[in-house]
């Protein structure tokens, strides 16, 4: 459907290098190590943030974390191989229900084991959908994944006994481990668990995207036929991209279930999938930074709009609908005036400042 231009391809590499004083030594480190160091740095920043803010903000920080992971996966798919998926929320739903079922039926498993199982489940689901849709391209893939996003919540109603129907499932997960009791609150601990998983996931995504697989995906995005002529296994690469994206989505859904403690079909509507994709484009499609801005936008636009509606003392209908309208308006305005998204706008601003200084 789209043939994004080469200028979209702004990787995070320059920013990452700038964060470290001696780029020469930094540059010789292998990529996975570099990404892991950055992940640790990111986790340190989040931990710092958690200690200076309260419990409510901890939950929001956790929400930004799992939303960012989901969007980063989608970014690899849309920005990488150019497959537009409107069904990302469906994979979040699979992950979330997997987490809920694991906690309910295998309560003694630790959270790390649950997350590991969710990764496997998501890979299987991604393989199934990815293989089925591998031949579809552009709007046809978008249409098929759209149907997945709308249809999957129906399963929760169909298998009412197992999945709890429209009330969904409520779970109770273990809180702070004994040795940290008194040091961190439950919300802070959950946010830490979320962000640890998220930064590892992001490091993996960044490594994939700058490696051979990422290159192949971008070749397919720019011209499928040319990529095939150059020896890129088009079908296989597309399925792999889809599987990676759905794994990130499933993991994000599992983390969401872990933080919120409840899973309902109504939280995985089409609007969620559309919002994820829209926020990704709004944040900036070529970079993981874009995923961060996108996640912040999703979490905070909602909060601001709710506050705004309260402050304006609107009717209940208006108050309920204001967040979605607000998000849509911001989305349209951002794309109208910054076609490359927030990250693109920030980059051009930085370039302009640098030009003025030198």
């Amino acid at each position: 459907m789209s043939q994004p231009t080469a200028q979209r391809e702004k990787r995070t590499a320059p920013t990452e290098a700038a964060a470290v004083p001696r780029p020469s030594r930094w540059a010789v480190l292998p990529l996975p190590v570099r990404h892991l160091v950055l992940a640790a740095l990111g986790l340190a920043v989040v931990t710092g943030l958690l200690f200076v803010t309260g419990d409510l903000t901890a939950l929001r920080i956790a929400a930004i974390g799992y939303t960012m992971l989901a969007i980063a996966g989608l970014q690899l798919l849309v920005g990488g191989s150019g497959q537009v998926s409107l069904g990302h929320g469906a994979f979040m739903m699979i992950g979330a229900y997997a987490m809920a079922l694991l906690v309910l039926h295998q309560p003694m498993l630790p959270i790390s084991a649950n997350l590991g199982i969710i990764v496997v489940v998501s890979i299987v689901a991604g393989l199934a959908v990815g293989a089925a849709t591998a031949r579809l391209h552009g709007p046809y893939l978008a249409g098929a994944t759209l149907i997945l996003a709308v249809g999957l919540p129906g399963l929760a109603h169909r298998f009412h006994d197992l999945l709890g129907g429209s009330n969904g499932l409520n779970i109770r997960t273990a809180g702070v481990p004994p040795f940290l009791q008194g040091l961190v609150s439950t919300s802070e601990w959950r946010a830490l668990v979320v962000w640890t998983t998220v930064v590892i996931g992001l490091a993996v995504l960044a490594t994939i995207s700058s490696g051979r697989l990422g290159r192949r995906m971008r070749a397919i995005r720019d011209d499928e036929t040319a990529a095939a002529m150059a020896g890129v296994p088009v079908g296989k690469t597309k399925v792999v991209a889809f599987v990676i994206a759905s794994t990130a989505g499933g993991l994000a859904g599992g983390l969401q279930a872990y933080v919120l403690g409840t899973v309902t079909p109504s939280s995985f509507t089409l609007v969620l999938s559309l919002t994820l994709l829209a926020a990704l484009v709004m944040g900036g499609i070529g970079s993981l930074w874009g995923a961060l801005w996108a996640a912040i936008a999703i979490v905070y636009l909602q909060i601001w709009a709710t506050d705004l509606a309260r402050a304006m003392d609107l009717s209940r209908d208006a108050e309920n609908n204001l967040p979605i309208v607000f998000f849509g308006v911001v989305l349209i305005l951002v794309l109208r005036f910054w076609p490359l998204g927030v990250h693109g706008a920030l980059q051009s601003l930085r370039a302009r400042l640098r030009a003025r200084n030198s």
Binding site: M1, S2, Q3, P4, T5, V78, V84, A132, T133, R135, L136, H137, P139, Y140, A142, G143, A144, L146, I147, L148, V150, G151, L152, G154, L155, H157, R158, D223, T225, A226, M229, L270, V271, L274, T275, L277, A278, V281, M282, I285, D317, A318, N320, N321, L322, P323, I324, V325, F327, G328, V329, L331, I332, L335, R336, P339
Partner: protein, 283 residues
């Protein structure tokens, strides 16, 4: 057996609405190469306008006409004011903007008319196995499809529309106002979308009433081939039948997922829809 016949007739009637929505998606896809996700939202505005005007005047048909006019104007406005400046920069962005528009309009309708359901009447009686309302739906969509075919095929206006869609540069060189044609195409498409809304809306309308209709509409368009108006109509009727059988025999919760199965099966065999012709590609 009667159950089967009932399901078939119901399927054809609801398929008419899917066909109309698919047709509106295909017209816009042909003209601008993008799937207009705001289509159900535009239909929503048209249907709510019809609801209000029917309440004010007491006449269903004045409301019906109002819906079509609102659809026409809304589609043209959206193309001219929102889509055109953005479509210049990137196609993906234009698609995302239609998503944004969908969110804004759905939320806006909820803010104005409320999230709860409103009763919305049929054009004719809906009682019986193949009710007058069902007949009207099929006849209306059939008439629109035929009219559209005649206009596109046999009038100078239709020729200009096709020229602008298939070869904008050459059309512009021969004096066709391509921009105007795009606006007209969006207007016509949204008018047909509004018709789909009037057919699919009753008995109740709410801001999310067209979500499922849209899914089946896009399924129909994709199955028929996004480039082919006839495919859209045939796809719409097929999806209507298929969904009716699945809901009748397996349960309504599985209808949307079975639409996915249909899409995957059809597109695995024919990646560009049932009525597509293979196209050559330059690298």
């Amino acid at each position: 057996m009667t159950h089967f016949i009932n399901l078939t007739l119901n399927g054809l009637a609801s398929g008419a609405a899917y066909a109309a929505l698919a047709l509106s998606l295909v017209i816009i896809y042909q003209a601008t190469r993008l799937v207009n996700f705001a289509q159900p939202a535009l239909a929503l505005v048209a249907v709510y306008a019809a609801y209000t005007i029917t309440q004010l005047t007491g006449s269903y048909w004045i409301g019906f006409a109002a819906a079509l006019i609102v659809g026409l104007v809304a589609g043209a406005l959206v193309e001219r004011v929102i889509i055109r400046p953005i479509a210049k920069t990137s196609q993906l962005n234009a698609i995302i903007v239609t998503l944004g528009l969908l969110l804004v309009i759905q939320g806006g309708v909820g803010m104005i008319w409320g999230n709860e359901q409103h009763g919305f009447s049929y054009a004719f009686s809906y009682v019986g196995r193949f009710s007058p309302a069902d007949g009207f739906a099929l006849a209306a969509v059939g008439a629109v499809a035929l009219l559209l075919f005649l206009v596109y095929r046999f009038t100078p206006f239709g020729l200009r529309m096709r020229a602008a869609a298939f070869h904008p540069e050459a059309a512009r060189l021969s004096g066709v106002k391509v921009g105007l044609m795009l606006t007209a195409g969006w207007g016509i498409a949204s008018l047909i979308g509004a018709l789909a809304g009037m057919l699919a809306g009753p008995p109740f309308i709410s801001p999310n009433v067209f979500d499922v209709v849209f899914v089946f509409g896009i399924t129909a368009a994709v199955v028929g081939g996004l480039d082919n108006p006839f495919g859209a109509v045939i796809g719409g009727l097929l999806i209507g039948l298929g969904m009716s059988y699945v809901s009748g025999y397996l349960g309504p919760e599985l209808a949307t997922l079975s639409a996915l199965v249909i899409v995957v099966l059809v597109l695995s065999v024919r990646p560009d829809g049932i009525l597509s012709r293979p196209t050559a590609r330059k690298v």
